[in-house]
């Protein structure tokens, strides 16, 4: 696929050279952490890329490189994109944070957009989605539907985004089911179907009948389907092929409006370094169809919860909430500040186990 991308780029470069210089299309680059066919995180970013192409037609040209490891390779890929004349580059994984900043320093005229990070510069914006809002809805369904009172959670890396999701899901599962326990397994990968399947199997063997995942492949769903009697949730993408069971709902990332808006800003010269963090309200986080495997009343409650979060009436982190060690984090009625959420490195009270350091 990389070869294909290179060939496409070469073909486009040739095409550009021969057709006049009159209207230079805006060139937008995308760096993906997984393959575009992962059915999850990268798939959705690529859908948004296609939406950008559809919106602007000839006026935009997009290139992408998939399965780029987080590290020095990423820097090389971004540098190459910038050298090839990209005007705007989206780097779509947390681990690209430092590479993005490094490359951005070398190319002050190129605009960069880094997903889910917190380091910005004059030509580097960050953007992310409040997945934890969707996790609250999942936690509610998970807590209501578990019969073994054991919820398995497959984490990728112990970074704030993942920890936030665990906390949000746990808080809302406990609200409807005070006996629920979370078993958390860290896979140390975003994408490795075999390992994710193993992790899901282990959790199921140890009694979990609900599997939440913060990894990108659909392998845990396949494992749950084989085990029977286990429910799962689509992560990043709808993962609709596992409907109506085991997948009973999902969190969908919808990046298209943001990507279109930012590309337009570059075209019109109004691009500025910003920090965007949108959730259900702005449509960046969507809740996929809740299937009939979920009892009517639970479904209604979940949708009501989603609406309250979307309208801003309710914040998933509303006190009283204690930290794991029992110390007070949020007082009655207090809501969490974005700063604390962005750097979240602690579990809330009730979760067992330690966060790997």
């Amino acid at each position: 696929m990389q070869l294909k991308t290179i060939l496409t780029t070469a073909a486009m470069a040739l095409g550009l050279a021969t057709t006049a210089m009159a209207q230079d299309p805006t060139k937008v680059g995308f760096v993906y952490v997984g393959p575009v066919g992962d059915g999850g995180w990268t798939y959705e970013h690529n859908q948004a890329r296609l939406a950008v192409e559809e919106e602007f037609g000839d006026k935009v040209e997009t290139v992408f490189v998939e399965s780029v490891p987080e590290g020095p390779d990423a820097e090389r890929v971004m540098t190459q994109m910038a050298l090839d004349g990209a005007d705007l580059i989206f780097t779509t994984s947390f681990g690209y944070m430092d590479p993005t900043i490094n490359v951005a320093k070398k190319f002050p005229d190129v605009k960069f957009e880094h997903a889910t990070g917190y380091k910005r510069a004059d030509n580097v914006s960050t953007y992310g989605a409040r997945f934890y809002e969707g996790r609250a809805v999942q936690g509610h369904i998970a807590g209501s539907m578990t019969e073994s009172n054991t919820v398995g959670y497959i984490g990728s890396y112990p970074i704030p985004e993942v920890i936030r999701g665990i906390n949000s899901a746990f808080i809302h599962a406990r609200k409807v089911n005070p006996d629920v326990e979370f078993k958390i397994v860290w896979a140390y990968t975003w994408f490795d179907p075999a390992k994710e399947a193993d992790a899901a199997k282990v959790l199921i063997e140890q009694g979990a009948d609900v599997i939440l995942q913060h990894t990108d492949s659909t392998a845990p769903h396949a494992a749950a389907q084989n085990a029977g009697g286990v429910i799962t949730f689509g992560q990043a993408s709808d993962m609709a092929e596992y409907k109506p069971k085991p997948r009973v709902s999902s969190i969908i990332d919808n990046w298209a409006p943001y990507y279109i808006e930012r590309t337009r800003a570059v075209m019109e010269g109004t691009w500025e370094s910003t920090d965007t963090w949108d959730g259900i309200g702005a449509g960046m986080v969507e809740i996929g169809e809740i299937t009939d495997a979920v009892p009517e009343d639970v479904k209604a409650e979940a949708l009501a919860l989603k609406d309250r979060i979307g309208s801003g009436e309710y914040h998933p982190f509303t006190g009283p909430i204690n930290k794991q060690d029992g110390s007070e984090w949020l007082a009655e009625g207090e809501t969490a500040e974005d700063g604390t959420l962005l750097g979240m490195d602690f579990y809330v009270e009730g979760i067992t186990g330690k966060i790997p350091q």
């Binding site: 393959p35 860290w186 282990v202």
Partner: protein
Amino acid sequence: MDFGSISPVLLLASLMVAATPLLLAATGELVVERSGVLNLGVEGMMITGAICGFATAVNTGSPLLGMAAAAGGGAALSLLFALLTQFALANQVASGLSLTLFGLGLSALMGQGYQGIKPPPFPELHIPILSDLPFVGGVLFSHDPMVYLGLLICAAIWAMLKYSRAGLILRAVGENHDAAHALGYNVVLIRICAIMFGGACAGLGGAYISLIRVPQWTEGMTAGIGWIALALVVFASWKPERVLLGAYLFGGVTVIQLNLQAAGVAIPVEYLAMSPYLITILVLVIMSADRSRAPGSLGRPFHASS
């Protein structure tokens, strides 16, 4: 901490499943390297086998045909490597690496349209009497046929290398191809056969992941197991019995570390996550303290005129 939630039967049973793709790929690569060829394309052949097997199983409805197609696909791809290295005398390292890149791209292309499809289930092998034994039956005799095929292939290779004339010839070609040539053996033909056998085994290993272990098709789903198989062959000092040990150790520690995590053991997760790699390498390095070494002609090109 809750050790009670770990079931030893399930643990040992899933150990055998986790080890099988690695065992298949590593056994194949062992034969290739014993013939004096270094094929770094294991990952590419595995993933190609994974999609060939998956596509065939879905279209024909027969997982066994899928497995056969996977072996065929892996062998076909390895034939490309054989042509490059045995006739064009291309550099084996570079050819192997490009085989991996090519295999990953090719499989992604072939896999278009197969995402999210459920493959036909593999027939459960029920061995009379043995499967019903308490404990042992659950651990050893309740698997899909591929687990046993992997063991069988490994044992057959061990016996072939140790006791048979064919094994002697293979080793002669790998240790000193000039001498083997002088004795009248067709070095190139023997190596091509070994390479294709390695490709077929890698393909089976890949299809085991896409048809049984996961089971679904996702791009890049072998996620580095081919590379671990390569390393395993070296650390096992090119001996099939140690490959078996290494594969089971690696599979076992992988499964155990996930179980320990889920049970909430107070060992830092980072150590648990790296433990399969560390323990496997450590054990095999300690075992290879004897005078075992790489085949003498490993990685060297051969031409009858030289």
